[in-house]
Symmetry: C2
DNA sequence: AATATTATTTAGACAAATCTAAATAAAATA
DNA sequence: TATTTTATTTAGATTTGTCTAAATAATATT
């Protein structure tokens, strides 16, 4: 199965959007890929032809088992490259997504096997997302709680639900990254903001907008 | 200047073929890129439009200074990735070309700067070819001699002029790589073959075909 | 149920990169 | 120089991925 870069990007988006849902809508894919619904319909026909998706017009789109297998390979490549960029080239987590978006399309079994090995076969990427193994097995990311709903006092940052560069940049500036331990100092009902503290640093306040997108686990 | 992968591949081929020559022919480029002369003519018009090559019909093709600058960037990326694959992922030199052929098109200044740094800013790639620096400066590869014409008795392998996977694989199997030291045992006029010896190994014979493509310097 | 809104598909077009076959120019040879 | 061969270009198609505008289907609202 030899796929173009465009086809790979569609497969990956469908995988991402499907998560739980039975089918994905034409519009959702168009929005995700910053393209037009008409283009999605065109591509849907091609991917159906290749038996990578199930698709009947007006009925939404879902990956076939084969499509899912390919999606997991692409996700694996994407996340391994993100690890490489952060761990070996000292990029910060907000800079790696766009670059990995290109690197993920370099197809070579051997390259990915060796890259994974070189990185110590990591199981999560710099954003806390699980990395599928060579067989496409992916650990169910334990259901995390968002910071605005967490109950414990001491928490560890385990992921972000919004991966926009603007959020990641903000967190970066505040010194919040994966594995950072936070203490909840105070919650303000008024605007649902929350005051938090990182060891050896003055406390600061996070808006609801932000705390909603920080996924944490208690220690 | 935003170039497509195809445009980058053309620019790189023209750079490679120009080397010394004033202009490059349509056919030479077609052969190098395994495409058809008609396609080269089409692309020549586009690249001229973008002011990356000088081209008048029937007069051959040459890079403009701007085109040359871009070629050097692509060559830099290609060779740095080759270093990465060999030095960090333990690929052998005959396996890296195809993969680097894809990696070279991932465009990110920062990525390449950091990759170079991570590798210790190497100045030659695994095939002995010089790596242009960030400014596009490239060290004139000292004019090497091919093994079949070398005069000294003890030689060091400094490059290969044919980079086909078949030659590299052969050399690999014989234990010949960049920096390998060879002693000339005997030259046979009959078929221009040459018997060589690597330290701690039995001597063996190389055909003229092979020795022509091994570039060496004396020690 | 009729109407309005939203989602999706179709029709027709375009740019990029390629091809084959035919036409033309340049170079080599007799 | 005339002829043959080789190199290059043009003309016309094809594939991939995209778009806009118009048509149609599904859903929501009165
Ligand atoms: Mn991508
Ligand atoms: Mn990620
Ligand atoms: Mn390439
Ligand atoms: Mn090389």
């Amino acid at each position: 199965m030899n796929l173009t870069v465009a086809e790979e990007n569609y497969i990956k988006s469908i995988y991402k959007l499907q998560d739980g849902n039975t089918v994905v809508s034409t519009n959702a894919i168009a929005y995700e890929l910053a393209t037009k619904p008409a283009s999605v319909t065109d591509m849907a026909k091609k991917l159906k032809e290749k038996k990578l998706i199930d698709y009947e017009k007006y009925q939404g789109i879902s990956l076939t088992p084969e499509g899912r297998k390919i999606a997991l390979q692409i996700v694996r490549r994407h996340r391994l490259w993100e690890c490489f960029l952060v761990d070996k080239l000292s990029f910060s987590w907000n800079e790696v997504h766009e670059i990995a978006e290109e690197l993920e399309h370099v197809r070579s079994e051997k390259l990915i096997t060796r890259l994974s090995n070189f990185l110590g076969n990591p199981t999560t990427d710099p954003h806390g997302d699980p990395i599928p193994d060579a067989m496409g097995r992916i650990s169910k990311s334990q259901p995390l709680v968002s910071l605005d709903k967490a109950t414990a006092r001491r928490l560890e940052v385990a992921g972000v639900s919004d991966q926009s560069s603007s959020l990641l940049e903000f967190l970066n500036a505040k010194g919040i990254r994966l594995g950072t331990q936070l203490d909840i100092i105070e919650r303000y009902e008024f605007d649902n903001s929350v005051e938090v503290k990182i060891r050896n640093q003055p406390a600061f306040t996070l808006s609801e907008q932000v705390s909603k997108n920080i996924m944490v686990k208690s220690l």
